[in-house]
Every structure is written in C-alpha cells, then in structure tokens.
Amino acid sequence: MNIEPYTEDQTDALQEVANIAMGQAGDSLARILDNFVTLSVPRIRQIAAQELVDTVIAMVGDEDEVSAVRQAFYNSLRGEAIVIFTQSGADELAELLGYDCELDDNIEQELLLEIGNLLVGAILNGISETLGTELGFSAPSLMAEHSPLRQVLTANRLSWQHALLLEVNFSVERHRFKSHLLMFMTGETIETLRDILDDFMDEF
C-alpha cells in the first residue's frame, strides 16, 4: 500500500499531540512510582521496513544487552508498542514497584512486563485522550531478555512496508533505570490517524 507522507501541518499536529500526551503521562507515572520521572520529547518518523533497524539503533544506541516487552493496541488506532530496557537493575525496578520479596527470574520478568504495561498505558492513553479517542490493549508479552538490540529488531518478520514510529525515552530520578518506548503504526492506521489529526486541527 502506498502511503502519502503527512503534510507539515499534520506532522506538527502529531508532534503537538505527542508532547501534550507526554506531560499527562509523566504526571501519572510520577504518582505511581512516587518519584520524579522524565519523558523525553517524542521523536516521530515515517519509515520504510528496511530502515527500521538503523532508525531504532540511531535512537536507542547499538546496545549489546537489552530486554524488551511488546504490547498491542487496537480500536481506532492499531499497532504495537515495544518497550526496550537498556539498563534496568531488577532490584531498582522492584523497589520502584514496591516489591519486597526475593527476586527470581519470574519476578524479574513480571517487573519488566509491569513497567512496560504502565509505560504503554500511560503514554498511549495520553495520546488517545488528547486525540479524543479510546484504545484497547492486549496483555504485554516478553520479547527478549539480555539480547543485542539488533537481534531483537531483526528477529521479527515484518509484514509491512511503511510504518509510523514514535519514540520516547523514560527515566526516573535518582535511578539508573532507562527505557525507550517505540510505538509502531502501519498501513490503515496511518491513514486513520491522518483523519483524526485533521479533526484535531479543526478544533483549534
């Protein structure tokens, strides 16, 4: 399917929406984690399938060891969010989420899934609420643990030609923890979003 790139106005509107969403998401996350959180200014790119690996590596870094969680969203917008953890002491995550038990492999995985779900929920709900629409979410699942980022990205068979990529990175004050959220939307959703953005702009 041939996707027309967004106009400058549409791209600006999307950036605006994303920025507003990050503000809201940051507030909710700070309440949950009881710590000051930093969400970066979202980077938005329209990419072709073959540009995926290089684009993400440029944004996140050519990391040797990452863990990753994926979660699908659907309804007006369909796509997948991937949360990449570049540095995540499990002990830090446990402390952030109020786990006070012994850490084992299962608990570590649960921590990744939980933070992933919180991030995806906060950020994607921020975006959908700003756009005046609602999203549903699937359960998150573990994509990779302690694997090179390149391997995580290329392992997946991609069935799309073009995607809209939104990237945000997330850190918590006084913690080493760092993660990136990548939101992918393809094909029809890019078109749907275009219409939603046009409506959004009409309101202002």
């Binding site: 608990i107 899934l113 779900n117 919180l118 709900n125």
Partner: protein, 324 residues
C-alpha cells in the same frame, strides 16, 4: 426484549461465563463475585459483597495486589498478570487429571478500570482465566526443547559437553569475565599415551577409559566449573571466577583423581594419567581462542617434561612452533 421471565442478558452472561469475574472498590471491598468465582472458591457472593477481599482471602499477596489495583485507579488503564510469571492469583483446584507438575489452577488475570460518567475510576474489575491446559502443554514443550538442546550440546560417548558447546561457553564466560572484571582460568587436558590404550587393548577399552576419566574429572570439579570434550582424548575446562592459583590447585586435584585409581577393563587394571595446561585471563588477553592456545602451549610443556603433570602457561617459555 427482557420481561419478568427473561433474565437480563448481560447480567446473566457476566454471572455464568466461563471465567472468573469479580469487582472491587477503592478500599478493596468486593462489589461483584460471579458464579465461576463462587464455584471455585467455595464462597458465595452474598457472604462476600461489602467485605474486604484480603480479610476474606488472607492468602492473597496483599502488598503487591493493593499496589497493582491502586495503579489502575491512578492510570485508568488495564493491567495484567500472566501464569508464566505468577502461576495463580487464587489457589483454586483445577478440573483436569494431573499429568504431572500442576498442583492447582493456572490463571491469567486482567484488571479493568470501571469508569463512571465523569471519567473517574470507581471500581476495578478482575477477569480470571483458567489457563491450566495451556500451561501444561507449554511445560511439556519446554521440557522437550530442553532435552533436544542437551542432546545437541553433548558428546554421545562421554555425555560431556561437545566441542562446539564448550567453546561457545568459554566465549560467553570470557566476555562476562571481561565485563565484570572477574578472574577466569582455562585448562586443557589430555590422556597420556591414549593411542597405546586403543592399540593394545582395543577401542572398546579406549571408550571405557574416556568414560571413566570424564566421570572422575566431573566429580572433582565444582558446580560452577564447566567441562567439555574438546578432542578425541582432550578435555577443555572453564573455571569462572578462578585465578591461576585456584587453577593450579584444581589442576592437581584432577591429576590425582585420575592417577590415584587405575581403570578396570574386564580383568585388566590400566594405569591412566593425564597432562594439563593451565592459563588465566589477563588484561592483554585478546580473545578466548588465545586462552585455548596458551593452555595448549602449557599442555605441550607438561608432555615434554614427562607427562602426568600440570603446567602453567609462561609467555617466556619456548613455544611450540607447529600445530600437533
């Protein structure tokens, strides 16, 4: 259309559906408890409505669950648990014959924010799915995969790790030791005059010697040490978190384990010895192959010096110029 006799369709479905559905408010008081929950918990809705969930089910992980529910109220977003990380929320008996390893129902849970018209979250609704069957299949699959992996990583005769796998392991340990600035020692060992065992006593005897030596080496190593069959009569041993002194002590222990007791083949008692070459990771070590090369050099010197001994790699000692 519903009338006096026809039940409200949604209520009926929520109550009777094949999944546990229960709802709590901000204070963790039970507001809804469907039939699935009644039947599996043995507690009726009328006993539980208005009561605190933790008071009624004290075995629930209180701190974790309170926090998880609170997050749904704050974030107004779905939350999930999976049997793979957390086998169950409630300890319910499961309904299928046990094929092994599953003592109670495995559950996936979804937590859903229930919003009022003002958009605020009033309740959290739990949906609890019985995924016991899936979990059993998954575990069977994983057990099979583990077996398959073991078979592909092991040498058939000695049951030790094969060459490919022990090299991969050393490569991994090398990187890890580098990353965490930890010591690492490598030992290369082979059976002295092994060719003669095969020539005089036959290949079956040779096989038995290999098996016995492998077994004794394994017995003498620590849990964290990794042993592999590197060649016909050669063994590669990786000692994580061990420096050269530790390597020397272990090397001597291994040598003695083989020398102290002959190998019995039918009526023959065969004297068997091994030679060993030992080296450790240094700042200037380039890669794991270099360590194997150094251990090999040290092994060669042990042979030259009369066999049945361990030698430590010394950069200044005369090196072997050609491959054996």
């Amino acid at each position: 259309m519903p009338d006096d006799k026809t039940p409200n369709l949604l209520d009926f479905i929520v109550d009777r559906t094949h999944a546990g559905i229960f709802v709590v408010d901000r204070d963790m008081q039970v507001v809804l408890w469907n039939q699935f929950m009644e039947m599996h918990s043995g507690r009726k809705a009328e006993e539980l409505l208005g009561k605190n969930l933790f008071d009624e089910f004290p075995e629930l992980p209180r701190k974790w669950l309170t926090r998880k529910v609170k997050n749904v109220f704050i974030l107004k977003n779905f939350s999930f648990t999976s049997w793979e990380q957390r086998p169950y929320l409630f300890r319910f008996p499961h309904n299928r014959p046990v094929t092994g390893g599953v003592d109670c129902m495995r559950q996936d849970c979804t937590l859903m924010p229930v919003k009022n018209t003002a958009g605020e979250v009033e309740y959290v609704c739990f949906t609890l799915f019985d995924v016991t069957d899936t979990s059993i299949y998954q575990q069977q699959l994983q057990a099979l995969t583990r077996e398959l992996r073991e078979v592909s990583n092991r040498d058939g005769l000695t049951r030790l790790y094969n060459r490919r796998y022990i090299e991969e392991t050393l490569c991994r340990e090398f990187k890890r030791a580098r990353r965490h600035a930890q010591p690492l020692t490598v030992v290369l060992s082979d059976i002295d005059h092994f060719k003669q065992v095969n020539d005089f006593h036959g290949h079956l005897a040779g096989d038995e010697v290999l098996r016995v030596v492998s077994h004794r080496l394994l017995d003498s190593l620590r849990d964290t040490d990794i042993l592999g069959r590197y060649g016909g009569e050669e063994f590669l041993i990786v000692l994580p978190n061990t420096g050269i002194e530790g390597g020397k002590v272990l090397g001597e222990r291994l040598r003695q384990a083989i020398e102290s007791e002959p190998v019995n083949i039918d009526d023959t008692r065969l004297e068997v010895h091994i030679s060993l070459g030992i080296t450790e990771l240094r700042e200037d070590s380039f890669d794991y192959e270099q360590l194997i090369g150094e251990a090999d050099q040290a092994l060669y010197r042990a042979k030259e010096a009369g066999r049945n001994r361990a030698m430590v790699y010394a950069p200044s000692a005369p090196q072997r110029l050609t491959e054996p």
